[in-house]
Amino acid sequence: MQRVQAEAAPERDGREAAISLRGVVKRFGDFTAVDGLDLEVPPGVCLGLLGPNGAGKSTTMKMLTAQAIADEGGIRVLGFEVPRESKRARAVMGVVPQQDNLDEELTARENLEVFAHLYRVPRRARRQAVDDALALAHLTGKQLTKVDDLSGGMRRRLLIARGLVHSPALVLLDEPTVGLDPQVRAELWGLIDGLRARGTTVLMSTHYIEEAERLADDCALMSHGRVIARGSPSVLVAEYAGARVVEHYGPPDRLTEVERIAQGAGLSTRRTGPSVSVLKAETIPPSLEDELGPDGVRRAANLEDVFVVLTGERVE
């Protein structure tokens, strides 16, 4: 894929963040969707914006394209001030929305052609750009098929291709695999991974822990409109959940007892339905292990442990 450059893009010294949000607030009536958000995404990084529904991820995405206007704070995208210079920023970024908004009445190729026009790909490069996007999404053989007749996975791939038809420097992926079956999700992960390999900056909102772990170089955990933790998945897991976790299953009384013992020893726990997980299991002294009981099952700690510990909320 080829990179599109806006003629009037300000000169960047290579150190400026691809995305920068400072103290951004967005309210909808009495509800504060984004609450003093500070976030920087360096160029060439795939940042996973992780959080449950309602955390403010989609609103943040919309503010980056000026489809939502911040009430407070400053936003810069690829060196352009948003919303004042958002049109220039939108010319050099691609957006893959959560909602499928392809034109069902048009073919896959026609959808891409329309967006190649809208993204102002020059006439001489347009056909090649559309061909490249179709190839990237493995849809060359389906280019003349109406979108209405494509499978869910193909439509999703086309949606991604549409956001890439102008070879943007930055791609916003809003819940790229939500509602898809595991096989299609894996296919899309391959596609997104290809973007990272090309050095495209990616901001990907997701509430799938596994997706963030697989794709993101860096993660920002959002809750109630702000970032509550930031780092690579492995660093976050090591810092907040340790290397291993012990899961105890049993009746509610037993789980409450495990929680009491672990918390009494200064350990963090997370309750998920029929189990209690004791984090940083590698730090549990043998005497405490005896007290907790032999029924614990050890497993590797993951981002979900981090998230639940930090927010008390669950993600998928």
């Binding site: 080829q2 990179r3 003629e7 394209t65 004042r84 010319a91 909602q99 034109d103 102002r120 790909v121």
Partner: protein
Amino acid sequence: MSVQVERAPRLRRFEFAPVRGIWRHELALYKRYWKSQSFASMVEPTFFLLAFGYGFGSMIAVIGDYRYLDFVATGVVGVAALFTSVFPGMFNGYIRRVFQHTYDAMLATPVDVHELVTAEALWIAAKSAVYSCTPLVVALFFGLDPSWGMLLVPIVTFFTALGFGLFGTWTSSVVPSINSFDYVITGVVTPLFLIAGTFFPVEALPGWAQTVSYFNPLYHCVELVRDAVFGLDPLADLGHLGALVLFAALMWTIAVRGMRKRLID
């Protein structure tokens, strides 16, 4: 290799590049649906013309200096301009915004709301300008005398359709549901074409209704079409054209404002 964009987007200005992109979208859809669109847009006014022209025409031979069929033919041009613009403005605007989310996708590209609204309205107006001439062509086969002024009719219908298309877009941005269009159609669109001098002269209406009709853009369209076909009255016609341009400008302002309110949080 690096691909340059055609031109860096200009800030806060109206640009033609987004308009071209949106027209490309319209053209792709039109290529698929031109037959059904053309059928509906051309046959419906023809039915009006034949039904009123022959139905009433058998009872009313002339109105003023015109044969009734000629009077109706020129009036139906206005009705066609109204129908072929206000309905696409309303329904396309609503469906693309609420159900298909097409506008959300477009606004994520270097397209601003005012360019989106303008491009779609221009497309609607261009199509309507052509389709609205159908009654005149049909009437030619039924004895309407051809005149050079007829060539001005597409210009008149273009401005009329531009205003009504934008009116449709504006209503699509203010109605709470698609069913609310029933109120607009029955309460606004139908009275508009009944008090515009389309099927009978406005002079036949009560005084208050005549006054209302002067504020009806369709009245100015119909008057202009009649003058274009039967003989221009330059001063009065400039006034009619001014009314249509003013209407379009007003509708553009509220349509852009309404859509911006709906599309930008």
